[in-house]
């Protein structure tokens, strides 16, 4: 099973781990008790979540007017948050599907948590298209469900409808892919469980996995097929999200560069979020041997590449807008008008967070440093949020007719819902970290003897 790997390559598993050590390490958070840090962070996340729930109930009960929107800027934080969360999800799929097809072994230490992040992020994303509707109780009308209303049907021309299909496909494929990978690991926890209730739960979750050769063969085949299905989704989902803007007639939105640029931005922000989560998680859950400096460095390299693509897109948008000679293009989110207008702070937050600061990762010393990587990931998360805010709010605030130029100011409800989804995300992730095998241990075991530090030394 273990292919030979040159000793000069950095090991993916540190220390002199045995197969049994790996089982112990991965099962430890599930079998042990939560410490006070976990409870502290969980309580904080839960409070944020409940605050968000309150804000959502208030919105649905009173009207969208409780947000800071107006008749010119009809989307702001709602769709900003939607695109931000969807984008974050992309890293999980890229790591687990695309890197599987490219046989990148380093994905094995991080794919489980990255995919969990994908699913939890898509859950947050899915909330916004729902709650941004004026009449959310009629939201099911966007589904092409046979009905008794007459000849009513959905409008297949609408990019919002494409979103419905793109996001739901993405969520379901990601969920199935994630769950398939989990089966042998759930079975491992089941086999170790001593408490009858725990054994019962993990028996159900592992779908009766027995670990026969046939099980493994099917597992490998299904993983490959699902990776093949999920790979186009990495490209398609954010392409379709970008169509919400690209197919419109609004200056700044109407732009053919959006699909590739959105996909690159999504991967960029997604990897940043994986960094944010895993740099903390490797410490808290004692996974330093599995999530190593090399993993962090590799992800930083992906961030550099996708960040570069995003920056090229910014520059070309800026240039083409100016080069077009159109007065309307002077006020789009990447223009002199935006840089010096009332949203100058949002414009510069975008340029600094996404364009300037990530360039520090060219230095090996910095991109292999955990603290720097963590801070950088937070900066990129902020920058990518501003990217979507700028695209939506700045462009809508400066339309064709100057008489409809206006400003947007968020209310406490806008803020509350955003904070609420961050809380919800962390509630899900923290529960996951205590109940799921957070590293794909079955996969990691398959590379122990080729990429483990101890075995690499022995070969010498």
């Amino acid at each position: 099973m273990a292919h030979y790997e040159a000793p000069i390559r950095e090991p993916l598993i540190l220390g002199d781990k045995t197969y049994h050590d790996i089982s112990n390490d991965i099962a430890a958070p599930v079998e042990g008790k939560a410490n006070k840090w976990w409870w502290g962070v969980f309580t904080l996340a839960l409070i944020c979540f409940l605050w968000g729930v309150g804000a959502i109930i208030y919105t649905i009960g009173t009207g969208i007017g409780v947000w800071g929107l107006n008749n010119k800027i009809n989307w702001a934080w709602d769709i900003t948050n939607f695109v931000w969360w969807v984008g974050i999800g992309h890293a999980g799929t890229l790591i687990s599907a695309v890197l599987l097809l490219f046989r990148q072994k380093w994905r094995m230490g991080i794919n489980r948590s990255a995919e969990a992040m994908t699913i939890f992020a898509v859950v947050q994303a899915g909330l916004f298209p729902l709650i941004h509707m004026g009449r959310v109780w009629n939201g099911y009308w966007v589904m092409p469900i046979p009905n008794q209303f007459g000849s009513l049907w959905t409008n297949f021309n609408s990019p919002l409808l494409w979103d419905v299909f793109a996001i739901s496909t993405y969520l379901s494929v990601s969920l199935v892919f994630w769950y398939t990978g989990l089966l042998p690991d759930f079975a491992m926890i089941r086999d170790r469980a001593t408490k009858p209730f725990q054994k019962k739960i993990y028996s159900l979750l592992s779908f009766g996995w027995t670990g026969r050769a046939k099980d493994w063969q099917r597992f490998e085949e299904v993983s490959l097929v699902l990776a093949g299905l999920a790979t186009p989704l990495v490209l398609s989902v954010h392409t379709i999200v970008s169509f919400d803007f690209a197919t419109s007639v609004i200056p700044g939105w109407h732009s053919t560069v959006y699909p590739p640029y959105f996909v690159a931005g999504a991967v960029f922000s997604g990897f940043a979020m994986v960094q944010t989560l895993l740099i903390v998680m490797r410490k808290v859950s004692n996974l330093e041997a599995y999530i190593t400096r090399l993993h962090i460095e590799n992800m930083n390299k992906v961030i550099l590449v996708t960040g570069g693509i995003v920056m090229v897109a910014y520059l070309s948008e800026f240039f083409i807008g100016w080069y077009s000679g159109s007065l309307y293009e002077d006020f789009t989110y990447l223009s002199i008008g935006a840089a010096t207008g009332p949203y100058w702070w949002a414009f510069w937050a975008l340029i600094l967070c996404n364009g300037v600061f990530p360039q520090l990762l060219w230095f090996k010393k910095l991109r292999t440093n955990f603290t720097v990587s963590f801070i950088m990931s937070i900066i990129i998360n902020i920058g990518m949020w501003f990217e979507r805010f700028d695209i939506i709010v700045i462009n809508l605030s400066r339309g064709h007719l100057p008489s409809s130029w206006t400003q947007f100011e968020p209310t406490f409800v806008d803020v509350g819902i955003f904070i609420g989804t961050i809380g919800f995300f962390f509630v899900l992730f923290l529960l996951y970290a205590r109940t799921f095998p957070v590293v794909a241990q079955a996969e990691v075991k398959s590379i122990l003897k080729s990429s483990g530090e101890y075995y690499k030394k022995e070969h010498h």
Partner: protein, 223 residues
Amino acid sequence: MHWLRIDRYYSSDMTIVKGKEDGSFGSGDFFDAMSHPSDAPEVSFQPVMCQHCNHAPCETVCPVAATSHGQQGQNQMAYNRCVGTRYCANNCPYKVRRFNWFKYFDNDQFDYNMNNGIGKMVLNPDVTVRSRGVMEKCSMCIQMTQATILTAKKEGRAVAEGEFKTACANACPTGAIVFGDINNKESLVAQKAEDDRSFKLLDFVGTKPNVFYQLKVKNKQEA
């Protein structure tokens, strides 16, 4: 079909006087003033309602097809189909759609004469009161169009020129707004549309509006 004469709207000549005093006007160079409005500020009143585009950006983006094109060429809004995504309003280059952010009737927080029976008597009985969370827009008084067409149909005749007007055309004392059938070449609105001064707002966007404006021509020498 709408036709608007901007020059028939009242506008104050205070700005022109001021402009003359501080020297920003008076060059007499009309085209310069047109191309650099900020150098020569003047105020013209230009009402912008729904332009009832024949190639409407709002219609394609609605996921539930709540806004569509009517037989007479209007862009129509089916309020009870709207789920309130507000995508149509975002994609409107004229920004003429209005959203019901709150429930505005039977709500003490708003005083729009819709909180009691007496107050509601000012409301047009031919038009539904829209609920919270739906988009609305100028319908070009579709209820009057329909009533006129049905009356003509019952009487077995064609709709006559000038038989009905939109409420705004009715209300305007200077006749700045004209409503009519563009397909009837004899109608006033069809002649106005052919006029050299006729233009469509933001024509380059490709929305093919059903509303025409007439360029305002100013005599700078005598102003």
